[in-house]
Amino acid sequence: MGAQLRVYKRRIRSVTATKKITKAMEMIAASRVVKAQRKVAASAPYATELTRAVSAVGTGSNTKHPLTTEAETATRAAVLLLTSDRGLAGAFNSNAIKAAEQLTARLEAEGKEVDTYIVGRRGLAHYKFREREVAESWSGFTDEPTYADAKKVAGPLIEAIEKDTAEGGVDELHIVFTEFVSMMTQTALGDRLLPLSLDEVAKTETSAATAAGAPKGEILPLYDFEPSAEDVLDALLPRYVESRVYNALLQSAASKHAATRRAMKSATDNAGELIETLSRLANAARQAEITQEISEIVGGSAALADATAGSDR
C-alpha cells in the first residue's frame, strides 16, 4: 500500500471513532433534554401558584416591603449568572456570559456597583481567568439541579438583599440564564428578580394563567391574610426567589442539553462529511496507485519485448 493511501485510511479510522463518540453524546443529550423538560414542566404548578400569591399580596395590600419597593438610589446590585459545568455545548456558555457582561456594563453605567454570583464551572473559569471578583459560586449540580440546590444558591442572595447596602448588601437582584424556548431555540437573557415590579409579576402571571386556560386579565379577589400581610410577604418572597432560581436552573439545564445535542449533531454531520471526502481521496489514491502499477507493468513488459526482439535479430 502506498504511503498516501495509508495516511488517508488512518485519518478515516480516526474520524470514524470521533463520529461514534459524538453520536453517542448527541443521543445522551437528546434523552436528557426530554428529562429536563419534564422537570421544568413539573415545577410549573408551584411557580405559577407562588407568582399568583405574590401578586395577590402585592396588589391586595398596601404594605410597603423593602423587597417590593425600589430604593430611590440603588447603589449596589447582584447578578447571578447560570452557566454549565461542562462545555461541548456550542455557544451556550459564552452566550450566557456575554449577556451577563452586557447587564453588568449597563448596571455600572447606571452607577451601581455589581456583585457577581456564578453557578457552573464554565462561568467561574471565565471570570477567574480574567481575574474578576466573584462574590460566590456553586458548581456540580448544573446537569440535574434539585430544589435543595436552588435553596443553596438563593440563600446568600436573599441574605445580601436583606442586608443594608452599607454593610455589603444589595438593592437589586438580577439573574442571567438561558431560557429554554424550544428544542432549537434557547436565548440567554437577564431578568430582574428584586425589587419586584408588580406589573411584571402580573404579566408573567397572566401569561402563565392563559397557558393554563384561565381567562386573561383576571381580577384578583381581596384576600384575608393569615397571620398578616407583612408576615405573609416576609415568608413569601424568599420562597419566590428560590422558586425563580430553581426554575432558571432547570431551564438552563434543559437549554444546556439542547445546545449539547445540537453541537454534537453538527459534529457528527461534519465527521460524516469528512469521512466522505477522505474516502473519495483514498479511492483516488488507490486508483492512481493501480494505474501506476499497470503502466509500470506494461512499460516493463514492452521494454522486455523490445529487448528480446532486439536479441533475436
Partner: protein, 124 residues
C-alpha cells in the same frame, strides 16, 4: 354555594395531589384553619404539620407538609409546600430511624420534620 372545592397540593418539584374536597384542615402559623367551600379568599403561611383533606367521595387524604402557603380563592385552594408527602408515601421505619438520629444529634428542625411525618403516617 358550591358543595365542593378544588384542591391542588403542590410541592416545589411536582404536583402531589389534586382533586375535589369538602374540607381542608391545615396548620398556619397562627393555628389550625379549616377551609370549606365558599370560604373567604385567604392567604396564609403554613407551619410544618399534617394537612387533612376530606375528599368529596368521603375519603380522607393526609399529607405531611413542611412550610409553605395556603391560598384560597374562587373555590380553588392551593397548598404550596417546598416538601410535601402523602401519608401513604411515607416510610415509617425510615422516618423512625431519622427521628432517632435527629434526637441523638440534637437537630431540632430534623426532629420536627420527622415528627410531622410520623403523625401524618399514623393518621392514615
Amino acid at each position: 354555594m358550591a358543595a365542593e372545592l378544588h384542591v391542588a397540593l403542590v410541592a416545589a418539584d411536582r404536583e402531589v395531589w389534586s382533586g375535589e374536597a369538602t374540607l381542608v384542615v391545615a396548620r398556619t402559623t397562627s393555628g389550625d384553619i379549616g377551609v370549606m367551600p365558599g370560604h373567604q379568599p385567604l392567604l396564609g403561611v403554613l407551619e410544618s404539620g399534617p394537612v387533612t383533606i376530606r375528599t368529596s367521595d368521603g375519603g380522607t387524604v393526609v399529607a405531611a407538609v413542611h412550610g409553605g402557603f395556603i391560598s384560597f380563592a374562587d373555590n380553588k385552594l392551593s397548598l404550596l409546600a417546598e416538601i410535601a408527602e402523602l401519608s401513604d408515601e411515607i416510610d415509617v421505619q425510615r422516618v423512625e430511624r431519622e427521628l432517632e438520629r435527629a434526637k441523638a444529634e440534637g437537630d431540632a428542625a430534623a426532629e420536627r420534620r420527622a415528627d410531622v411525618r410520623l403523625r401524618a403516617a399514623a393518621s392514615r
